[in-house]
């Protein structure tokens, strides 16, 4: 089983862009006014999870691993 991938709770995210600016894999972008993770690019480093000021990002196992 791999490590959990980052997922943004779109109900909490306020689109500050902090997570996008620190992602080492360019796996985050702004989409429809909220941050969005491209799962295939995410390397589970969790930097975005730690950086989010309001706790809108958490780790989740990919659907095929549950």
């Amino acid at each position: 089983m791999g490590k959990p991938k980052a997922i943004v709770d779109r109900n909490i995210c306020l689109a500050c862009g902090g997570c996008i600016s620190v992602c080492p894999q360019d796996a985050l972008s702004m989409f429809g006014g909220r941050a969005l993770v491209t799962e295939e690019k995410c390397i589970s480093c969790a930097i975005c999870i730690r950086i989010c000021p309001i706790g809108a990002i958490s780790g989740r196992y990919a659907a095929n691993e549950i």
Binding site: L14, C16, G17, G18, P53, G55
Partner: protein, 397 residues
Amino acid sequence: MKYDVVIVGAGPAGTVTARFAAESGAKVLIIERRQEIGVPVLCGEGVSRKIDEWGMLEGKRWIACNMEGARIFSPDGTMVKLSAEMAGNETGYVVYRDIFDQELARQAAKAGAKIVMNTNAIDLLREKDKIIGVKAKQYDDEIEIEADIVVGTDGVESKIGQWAGIDTRLDPKDLETCCQYTLTNIDCKEAYCDFYLGNKIAPGGYIWVFPKGKDVANVGIGVLGNLSEAGMPKKLLDQFIANNPRLKNGNPIRFLAGAVPVANPVETVKDNIILVGDSARQVDPITGGGLTHCLEAGKIAGETIGMAIEQQQFDKETLSSYETGWKEAFGKKLKRNYMVKEIFLDFDDKTLNMLADSLKDIKFDEISTFALVKALVLKHPTLLMKLRPLMKISSEA
């Protein structure tokens, strides 16, 4: 659709660049992914009165409050008062950033720049290796916008820089992760911008209280990325407000999150590319203030664009007069303050308290650096060791 310049992002950096480019004859398009300029307000809303000299804004509608100065509180509550002139780039006016940004956009439009909203850049447009514009998504349509110069004023999360091959990725230690309330029903009759320091209050950052009226203020926090954890800024800010007699009865009318680069600036020009503002990391690493810089840099960028169009030269060498210009204006200060930031980070709460205790009775408008250091060290001799690297930097500057 072919323009001389396409500017990605209609914040202050983008609209000021647009205005001065348009005034020097360029055909300018600004694209903005949001549906309202200036909203959401990702900012503490403090700015120096230095902006008056530049005359970029008309009227007074964008001013919420005139500030007399700043008060800095050390972890044990010791207060150091600074006049507005001494307090740096964030004290002078507290502004309504939404109106402020819209006024700058109005000036850009008046100069002839075209603004389109709901248009999100998704990639650079290239012909072989040459950048010839941007691809954007406008509602559900993908459009191509051709331009000789692409300006990235797309903020802290800048993609334009990255797509053009500039490494804009931030190390967490070079990012302040922030959130803020606009609080009403509080007491802020005194016209001071307040800053609260301490490793338990805001690790590697500070909490600010900037009055926007007698009973309303912008109250926020910045925590340094590498010292933060998921949701920590919000938790610490809520805790601070709940325990502060002046704020605890406040009611929020706005809640926002933000991210501020406190990094060394990046490369700001490439062939056919210019970066201005947060995307170029033109932010004071000590205070996190960037408004004055991006207005100053935007003007230089706009004028450089005018010159480039006159010469029909869009290579890095031609555009680099922008980079030389902004570095002359404030580049040295940013570099020095980045070093000072690193030194400050080593200060524990005890050192901050000693510093504040030494500084609290000094009148800052009438003191030399020498007298300041003497006063500091006389009161707390152990500060000498801690301050030595700072003195070295200030003597080199």
